[in-house]
Amino acid sequence: MSHHDVSYLAPKETGWKTIWSWIFTVDHKKIGVMYLAAVLLAFLLGGIFAIALRLELWEPVKTLADGTVTGQVLDLGAGATANNWYNRAFTLHGTVMVFLFIIPSIPASLGNIFLPIMLGAKDVAFPKLNLFSWYVYVFGGLFALYAILAGGVETGWTFYTPYSSTTEWGSVTAMVLGAFILGFSSIFTGMNFIATVHKLRTPGMGWFDMPLFVWALYATSIIQVLATPVLGITLLFIVFERMFQVGVFDPALGGDPVLFQHFFWFYSHPAVYIMILPGFGVISEMIAVHCQKKLFGYKAIAFSSIAIAAISFLVWGHHMFTSETPAANAIFSALTFLVAIPTAIKVFNWIATMYKASIAINTPMLYVMAFLFCFTIGGLTGPPLATLAVDIHLHDTYFVVAHFHYVMMGGTVLAFIGALHHWWPKIFGKMYNEFWGMMGCTLVFVGFNVTFFTQFFLGTQGMPRRYATYIEEFTSLHQISTIGSLILALGLFVHLGNFILSLVSGPKAPRNPWGGLTFEWEADAPPVEHNFPKEPVIVHGPYDYGTVTPPHTNPGEFPLNDERPSA
């Protein structure tokens, strides 16, 4: 058999050759799977730090009359106090989750696997660069790991100066260099995707024939390419500050710490959309497939991704309402409200798609609905924070923490796990257990909301973020939040077990279990090495549900509009 009809997962003649075929692969699917393994490992690491935080917050730290201190959980010694350990835990939770997990999560794993297939291509534009970006990611991750083991970092993931540029604690330089290197990995992936979308669409596929996941990845890639270098230079400045005391950000040397904040957020705000746009993309895919309905407002969804990418560069100042001039604040506040418009366009279109559709109830669709619920809460708590007078009260409180977790976790992570279920049969050619998938989703949904909804209350009552202790009145809310985090963790482990079980003994997946119309459902499960035995031809739109019979499905399995019983 030639490589035209063998699954990309098929082992080679010998074990060594199989290993070789993975570590030196230029196949986008294998690289995507390697990214998937790496980001899930990072997710586990970041999750361990998260649980450590929640356990420390089970009780406030109190010093009793006889001098004994109670309520300290993270008292791990090694020359550091419990407070130091708490600072490290929240810094590493943030850094690992942002740079190692959520930024590469959907684009580098699922995007890598499905972008070329959805375009009908054999691979991404630059396959070697793709592999290189994975190694750069691993190299950057090793730097971060070294930083964690060599004393950790206490600066918070935002590395604010002058603390980050002067502190003697831990290994800030290694961590900052790690994030700098990870940025390159992100840039390379972005460049690759943009060139792929421009130059590798199958003949006849116009821009508006592309699946919306591709549009979302395209918008994401633009931000990755244009914003990440600014983070690069910012982090490089921190390294220069630490190594040569250049003093650009250090007020003791005449520098300007607010300049750092501008630089940092000029990347890190657009980065928020690097995190969420791919989530929007997979939601669009899943909602159309599992509702078997033509997506409502295709062009509106496509252009809103580009609009979000454009606006994302204009709103960084809203992270600095407490350190800017009133005029700058007013401008950034107004611009920030703009983001709500394209985002709301998407949500309305998704809901309109679900209206009167035949909605399948399975794990991916359950996640779509969980996403719509949580992301809407996350989105709608944004405008209050963009409102200057309200933000002065809520700045740096748990309200902000809850807001961005509803967007990042309730948005991106829920979309990611849902999409993982959606495409699992295609990636690995095995079905997962639907009952345990839905069970895991329920636990994650409940656990997530219990964890973070309470934090809105804590925030409005004045609980500041990044503190290891709190006043006694907050105890019960903090304990509810901690219990929620444990339910959430349990749900995630249910998924992990379900996935492992599927790989070990899952039934073979059909080629098109959900009745999808995009190109990946025409490919084998798992796809052959060059994705398609011969180049696919575009004969219908990506979302012509109800008028086109999905490929590789049984007659009547996914009835067309005129075959359905009329309402």
């Binding site: 396959p127 660069l129 003949p203 230079i233 490089l236 250049v246 003093g247 300007d256 630089f263």
Partner: protein, 248 residues
């Protein structure tokens, strides 16, 4: 092509690798591959511009705060003659790299190697001048960034000038109090640019090896063209660095 080569005693001329080049297997045709490679390079150039924009942004923030000081510091610490010489060689090298690409398009292997060698010599000249005539004297005099900076001769110079003109010493020193920020930015900007020049030399060394092995010709010169584009951006960044630091 089975041209008879008189130099090899009637044996057929050895085919160069570029003559058989079509495109990598995942492309539909060579034109798409060429366009994509160029698009990718332009995207990379955009990231380079944005990387350096951080330096320029910091430059403007501090120059607007201390305009007088920056004028004085530039005059005192930097020599426009050296900067000008380096600007000239970089501009020349941008021209020679274009000639190398042209030679590849025409399939003249020895010309590619010749023009790349000239480019390398220009880049080497730039770095030698930078290190030997700019960095080294500054290191000797402790004219270093930020906290490592020492006023040294500059303070003596300023105080002497103040005494001669009846200016209060404290006021005079206050005017030079931001010298170290000017020098900090000068050091990090030019050093990062210098690293880019060095990377360019390494890349061109690789290009020369590939050219020698016969990989570049009319059917395949995209790598050379992309390296040339990189070299132009390194040049253009210097075109901004030169007036902003040496001519203020």
């Amino acid at each position: 092509m089975t041209a008879i080569n008189p130099d090899t005693g009637g044996q057929p001329a050895k085919r160069e690798p570029w003559e058989d080049y079509t495109h990598q297997h995942h492309w539909r045709n060579g034109a798409d591959e060429f366009d994509a490679a160029k698009l990718g390079m332009w995207l990379f150039l955009a990231t380079e511009v944005l990387l350096f924009s951080g330096f320029f942004c910091a430059y403007f923030v501090f120059r607007m705060q201390f305009p007088e000081n920056w004028h004085e510091a530039s005059r005192y610490y930097l020599s426009w003659e050296i900067g000008f010489a380096n600007t000239c060689v970089l501009l020349l090298s941008s021209f020679t790299v274009v000639l190398a690409i042209r030679a590849a398009q025409l399939g003249k292997k020895s010309h590619i190697l010749f023009w790349l060698l000239i480019t390398q010599l220009c880049a080497g000249f730039f770095l030698v001048v930078k290190l030997g005539w700019e960095y080294w004297p500054k290191i000797v005099k402790d004219e270093l960034p930020g906290a490592n900076f020492a006023y040294g001769e500059r303070a003596a110079h300023v105080l002497e000038h103040a005494a001669a003109n009846g200016i209060d010493q404290a006021v005079a020193m206050n005017e030079v109090a931001r010298d170290h920020i000017f020098l900090s930015l000068y050091w990090v900007t030019t050093a990062t640019h210098g690293v880019h020049v060095l990377v360019g030399m390494i890349v061109f060394a690789w290009c020369m090896y590939r050219a020698w092995r016969g990989h570049y010709g009319p059917k395949n010169y995209i790598m050379l063209e992309n390296c040339g584009l990189y070299w132009h951006i390194v040049d253009i960044i210097w075109i901004f660095v030169f007036p902003l630091y040496y001519l203020v």
